[in-house]
């Protein structure tokens, strides 16, 4: 069903983009002087995450997309005054789609600007499709370090903070608190291993120590049973009983298998930080500083739900395109790409400073929120962590450390 609809949408898109080469097309509907700039929102109908540990958590079906749609409406307000119109074409690939093959269709009319709501492996397939060579792909979903390191691509820009930026953001906060002895509890997935390596890297960077480490292969069998909490109350203390004294438990559980069970269930009375508990994130619905309150209000009115991190990514990606077209006066994906890499570019993202891209890996340079479920606790970089160029570059892979070699 989704597949058929997606195929139809794709067909329409090809028609809509035909002959545009990704540049402006005349749009009769928007008036004789208006120029229409197409943006493609590309996502795949991935199977849901299954049962989340908490009933309070959900994954809205339009996560990411609602942010991009709201962002499009907002840049069109500016565009209205300047005679520019942006149109968001939403393409939903069926689950398990051959992204490389679909990419040929998406890029058939010519290079395009893509907001990619794709997982890491699919994003790479899209970026590596020959037709995508001159496209501009704004990645609003992945956080994987690998895509900012060896698997970086010249046509991909990353909006959300990488895993390494997140552990660095937490590490600075913990070091500032003098909570520098960490117990690292690592889940079973390869991404957990990457995150755990980042935790060790952050510890070494900022003078903290991993004093205990353990792998934990949690079997989520009892999630929805009546006695689930009793099972958890037995399992979590067992998993967290270590002989070494520590200040915080740093959990690496990127797929939300067990991390949310840890607070108040640890053997020792210690706070939980990492992928659950106190987390590092680009956005939380609780954030209200730097005009974020106005954004939360606008998004609630628009989508009738709270704004998630991926929604923020979608909103920001579209605003980046709007800025490049209207302020940077760019008309092609290639032009936008050079503009995003230039000194002239910055985008406002409710962090109290202009956000820019790191030229060495095309990761958005940004302060990162430190948040518990209901409140923002802090924002990193923390005061006192200095950098010769930009303090936000204390988070994640700085230029001298990068393994990314972008083909220009």
């Amino acid at each position: 069903m989704i597949g058929r609809r997606a195929a139809r949408v794709l067909g329409l898109l090809v028609l809509a983009l035909a002959g545009t080469s990704g540049a402006f097309v005349a749009a009769a509907a928007a008036g004789p002087d208006a120029r229409t700039f197409p943006i493609v929102y590309l996502r795949e109908a991935y199977p849901g995450p299954g049962i989340m540990p908490s009933l309070l958590e959900s994954r809205p079906e339009d996560e990411g997309l609602a942010g991009a749609e709201d962002g499009t409406a907002e840049i069109n307000t500016t565009g209205k005054f300047l005679g520019v119109h942006f149109k968001l074409y939403v393409v939903t690939l069926p689950a398990g789609a051959d992204v490389a093959a679909q990419a040929r269709k998406v890029f058939a009319p010519g290079p395009a600007v893509i907001v990619a709501d794709l997982r890491a492996d699919d994003l790479l397939k899209l970026a590596d499709a020959p037709a995508a060579k001159n496209a501009l792909i704004l990645d609003i979903r992945t956080i994987e370090d690998s895509l900012r390191q060896r698997d970086c691509r010249a046509n991909v820009f990353h909006i959300l903070p990488s895993q390494a930026m997140r552990t660095d953001a937490l590490a600075q906060f913990l070091v500032e608190k003098r909570w520098s002895r960490w117990f690292l509890l690592q889940g079973p997935t390869p991404q957990d291993a990457v995150y755990a390596a980042d935790v060790r890297r952050s510890a070494a960077r900022y003078g903290a120590r991993v004093v205990a480490a353990r792998s934990y292969d949690y079997n989520p069998g009892s999630r929805r049973s009546d006695t689930g909490y009793q099972q958890i109350q037995t399992q979590m203390p067992l998993a967290t009983q270590v002989g070494t004294g520590y200040d915080v438990l740093f959990v690496a559980d990127e797929t939300d298998l067990f991390g949310d069970y840890l607070p108040y269930n640890t053997f020792d009375a210690r706070p939980v930080v990492g992928t659950q508990g106190l987390v590092a994130t680009a956005w939380t619905p609780a954030f209200q500083s730097y005009s974020a309150l106005q954004m939360q209000n606008r998004f609630q009115l628009f989508a009738h739900r709270r704004m998630t991190e991926r929604d923020y990514g979608g909103w920001l990606a579209v605003n980046i395109v709007g800025d490049a077209v209207m302020r940077g006066r760019q008309t092609s994906p290639a032009g936008i790409r050079s503009y995003l890499r230039s000194d002239g570019f910055l985008v406002a993202g409710f962090k109290g400073e202009g956000l820019t891209f790191r030229t060495w890996d095309q990761q958005l340079r940004q302060p990162v929120l430190i948040a518990q479920p209901l409140m923002v606790v802090s924002m990193s970089p923390q005061p006192g962590f200095l950098h010769p160029n930009n303090t936000s570059d204390t988070l994640g892979f700085d230029q001298p450390e990068t393994q990314c070699r972008l083909a220009q």
Binding site: E74, Q294, E353
Partner: protein, 329 residues
Amino acid sequence: MPPRAMTGRCAALLAFAVVLCSFAASSRASELFVSNEVDDTVTVLDGDSYRVIATIPTDQRPRGIIETPDHKAVLVCDGDSNNIDVIDTKTLKVVRRIDTGPDPETLATSLSGDELYVSNENNALVTVIKYATGKWITQVPVGIEPEGLAVSKDGRTVVVVSEETSMAHFIDTKTWQVVANVLVDTRPRVAVYTPDQRYLWVSSEVGGTVSVIDPRSHQVVHVINFQIPGVDKQYIGPIGIQFTADGRTAFVALGRANRVAVVDPGSYEVEKYILVGQRPWQLTFSPDRSKLYVANGLTNDVTIIDVSSEKAVKSVPVGRLPWGIAVVP
């Protein structure tokens, strides 16, 4: 309560200078009205001693604050209560509330004071209100998150800047139509005409610049940049702008850079940076323009700058998250 200008220092001097002191007590000093965004209050400071005279409870989230042209009232926008509090400058009490529509952030008055112009931050409008009756005259659609307002000296133009849309919108006060939209740097906050009306200065908080616009051609003719040794560029967030009466000096509050820039409007050169409290946003002159008052949002105080020496003289505590200042002679 003794007369307001009869301060402690004045009382101590009483024995030595009875005549002088009673003269001071009979003529009330100027007063500063500071809106405290998270306290839901306005702090009133004595313009000589800078002591707190009163703390006036307001409705929720008071931000934009101005005095009426006749100085009889101070008006403050209560963003979360969708109204304006009218504070009587004699009794120092809220005497009236005016409905503004959603989320008023700042306001300005027409030259006569008959009309109020209010920026409705949450719904991209400027609401025009008859001050005497509180009736809405019209609403003008503008860009997203409208904030700072400027009124031309001839009263024909109201300018509003929209933060999210990054524009200065020029509104004709005869037709209430937007006649021009000027794209400026990211997240503009404040617009101010130069005293000779030849230019309009617009501060961009995230862009870190001040755009100088020719209000006749609606073109940006110059962009002022700020560079402070030892301060990262991304912390420089220009907001409040004030000109001396002769137009020869401009003061620009720089937000997280914790400084006020002194700019020569002739050459657009920045002559000096004055260190103030943390996150200065709005600034206002004393009635004789010898002092400049700066509201520091994060240190909860007001810094007083001596205009002739361009030095910060002292800082005085007010409420939490002070946003703006109105001064009544």
